[in-house]
């Protein structure tokens, strides 16, 4: 467990960034760009449940930053925390990242808040002399309020080997800022890559349907599955997706299992109760708990454009509320 304190919370139109400082030098967490951590916090004498978040900052920065949409009970609670709150971090986990020994060009496909691991990677590469070209294709709902837009522009401007293209579902195309309106579908990717999908390494991170679609597009264009890395926080899917990262998947699942076995599971109904208790500030110490979402699209991988009511887990199934009831659909699995 690494003890950090919340230095500040920066809120933007559609997301927020938490900056965390290590409590001591010994608490400082070492990581490689693209990895993720679990984050919990202390309120009074109580320890909160933990959630997984990709690290947004680069390893050479003194503090750790994580980003998320403020769209659920847990992230709302994170957004309300005061500077100085004790934060408990575990990790790092995962192997999502670039292979510096491979000089082939890299295409990064991100959607929504799935940009987070790429931010850490790109920040760490900003001032480096790169052999390969890196293209980030970043899908967002709107042409405005894109997370980290200015910083991405700055990274692309600083490093000639890095290109950023924004695909916005709604809005107006602005070629001078590399913003194009449309969907990240086969047609769009074919145009961007000029129909040349080969001899590249691909990295995908975003909501599950986005990742599944992107994976399918690449495979249908004869991309070798070994050339595709997929990062997912959905425990079940992490096992079944992720063309080249079973180790990352296994690590995450192990993390999940260890937390589950050690501390039990609460559903979101329990969480709501729990959060209410924190607010009342009259509770005793509770064990760390791992959340199993119910109807919460708040994880650092979710975006309503691609929202999927079913959060898949390897060990704990998810309850679906009536509002997000999913009717039966038969398909090839």
């Amino acid at each position: 467990m690494h003890r950090y304190t919340l230095e500040r919370t920066d809120k933007y139109s559609d997301f927020m960034v938490l900056t965390l400082d290590p409590a001591t030098e010994a608490d400082k967490l070492q990581f490689t760009p693209g990895q993720y951590i679990t984050v919990g916090f202390k309120n009074s004498t109580k320890t909160s449940p933990v959630r997984c978040f990709s690290i947004v900052s680069a390893p050479n920065e003194n503090n750790i930053r994580i980003a998320m949409r403020e769209s659920g009970i847990y992230t709302n609670k994170l957004g309300e925390l005061h500077p100085g709150t004790e934060m408990l971090l575990q990790g790092p986990f995962g192997n999502f990242g670039i292979n510096h020994l491979d000089s082939q060009d890299i295409v990064m496909l991100a959607a929504g808040i799935g940009i987070t691991p790429f931010m850490s990677i790109l920040r760490s590469l900003k001032d480096q002399r790169l052999e390969m070209n890196i293209l980030l294709v970043y899908s967002s709902r709107n042409d405005s309020g894109i997370p980290f837009f200015e910083e991405l522009q700055d990274i692309a401007k600083t490093n000639p080997k890095i290109t950023v293209i924004h695909i916005a579902t709604k809005g107006t195309s602005n070629p001078s800022k590399n913003i194009y309106v449309g969907r990240t579908d086969n047609k769009m990717l074919s145009r961007i890559l000029r129909n040349n999908f080969q001899d590249k390494n691909y990295m995908i991170c975003g909501p599950s349907p986005f990742m599944e679609d992107a994976d399918q597009i690449l495979l249908s264009n004869s991309v070798n599955p070994d050339k595709i890395q997929i990062e997912s926080f959905k425990q079940g899917n992490t096992l079944t997706l992720g063309s080249s990262y079973s180790i990352a998947a296994a690590t995450y699942v192990m993390t999940f299992l260890v937390l589950m076995l050690g501390v039990g599971v609460v559903g979101s109904r329990d969480l709501r109760h729990y959060v209410a208790k924190i607010e009342a500030q009259n509770v005793n110490t509770a064990p760390v708990q791992t959340i199993n979402n119910e109807n919460e699209n708040e994880s650092s991988r979710s975006e309503s454009d691609y929202s999927n009511p079913s959060a898949n887990t390897t060990t704990a199934p998810t309850n679906t509320s009536n509002q997000t009831y999913r009717p039966p659909v038969t398909s090839v699995s």
């Binding site: 079944t240 038969t330 398909s331 090839v332």
Partner: protein, 305 residues
């Protein structure tokens, strides 16, 4: 009574279970269903090194002691292989691995050495599978995969469990293979959407249950779990990925196992021979999506209108 739905991931698939029950009953039943599902995966996964299936394959050539459930699935394999005149054949694991599908999707190339059977034979008929009391044996130079039958078998088991518990209204989806019984909360029949093979968000048809009767739907196809020059449906006649113009086949069946196997057999048969198969095997209904010069064409058979 309310409608409850849980979803999760196991047996390499997204799973959704919906049932009408009281809260306390639903909680208890969901728990038991997930235990059954994870237990099944642990026993029958070809990607788990110490699964009963993996151990069975490693001991090919000898009679191996097997569990009752394993024995039941092997017997179902024999039934289905005979019923489909060999279009279903569990001995295709070496061919499947040879084609490129070794590891758990999508890490298809990653597999432990003692789980790689790609050098073994696939050209083996169901007659080479022997079951004797609580033991079974396959030829030394062979290995079986129960992926083609497992989901259907498990769905039928889960459905039978719910029936025994007195749950009358439910549907379960294992990776898009579905079994439905009874009705929805508003007394309407269950309606199952059929996914467009070319657009993961698209629905090309809807199939409605009749008079609240139990029915199963399975879809098989070549549009997923595929790589360069291969897909996961192996034609036992060639021991290679089936050469077919069918993108997906959706089949309605009396049981999930029957629907599942028929869907695969129809894909293998291709558009020219599938009508013959559907008629000969008395398939209740089928919807076939075909690739036609880059466009897709939908053909409906039997009770699917």
């Amino acid at each position: 009574m309310n409608r409850y739905q849980q979803s999760g991931n196991a047996v390499g698939s997204d799973i959704a279970i919906t049932l009408l029950a009281s809260k306390s009953q639903a909680d208890l039943i969901f728990k038991e269903l997930w235990v059954m599902i994870h237990g099944f995966e642990k026993r029958f996964s070809r990607f788990i090194v110490d699964s009963e299936l993996s151990k069975f394959n490693r001991n090919a050539g000898s009679f191996v002691e097997i569990s009752q459930q394993f024995s039941d699935v092997l017997k179902a394999c024999i039934d289905q292989a005979n019923r489909t005149d060999g279009l279903f054949n569990p001995f295709q694991l070496p061919a499947l691995q040879k084609s490129g599908y070794k590891g758990s999707w999508p890490n298809v190339n990653q597999i432990a050495k003692n789980m790689d059977f790609s050098e073994k034979e696939s050209n083996i008929t169901i007659n080479a599978l022997f079951i004797k009391n609580n033991k079974a044996k396959i030829p030394k130079n062979s290995a079986i995969d129960l992926g083609g039958i497992g989901k259907g078998y498990l769905l039928d088991e889960l459905s039978a469990f719910l029936d025994n518990k007195g749950i009358e209204n439910y549907w379960i989806s294992l990776g898009g293979d579905i079994i439905c019984n009874g009705q929805d909360i508003d007394n309407r029949n269950w309606i199952v959407g059929v996914n467009d093979a070319l657009d993961s968000r698209g629905i090309i048809s809807q199939i409605e249950s009749k008079n609240s009767e139990k029915f199963a739907i399975a879809t098989s196809g070549t549009t997923k779990r595929k790589g360069q020059n291969w897909h996961h449906i192996i034609d036992p006649q060639t021991s290679k990925s089936a050469i077919t113009d069918i993108l997906t086949a959706t089949v309605v069946g009396r049981s999930a196992i029957e629907a599942d196997i028929n869907a695969k057999a129809i894909v293998i048969a291709g558009s020219k021979k599938c009508a013959q198969y559907i008629k000969a095997k008395q398939v209740i209904g089928a919807l076939v999506q075909i690739s036609d010069n880059g466009n897709s064409k939908i053909i409906k058979y039997g009770e699917i209108k």
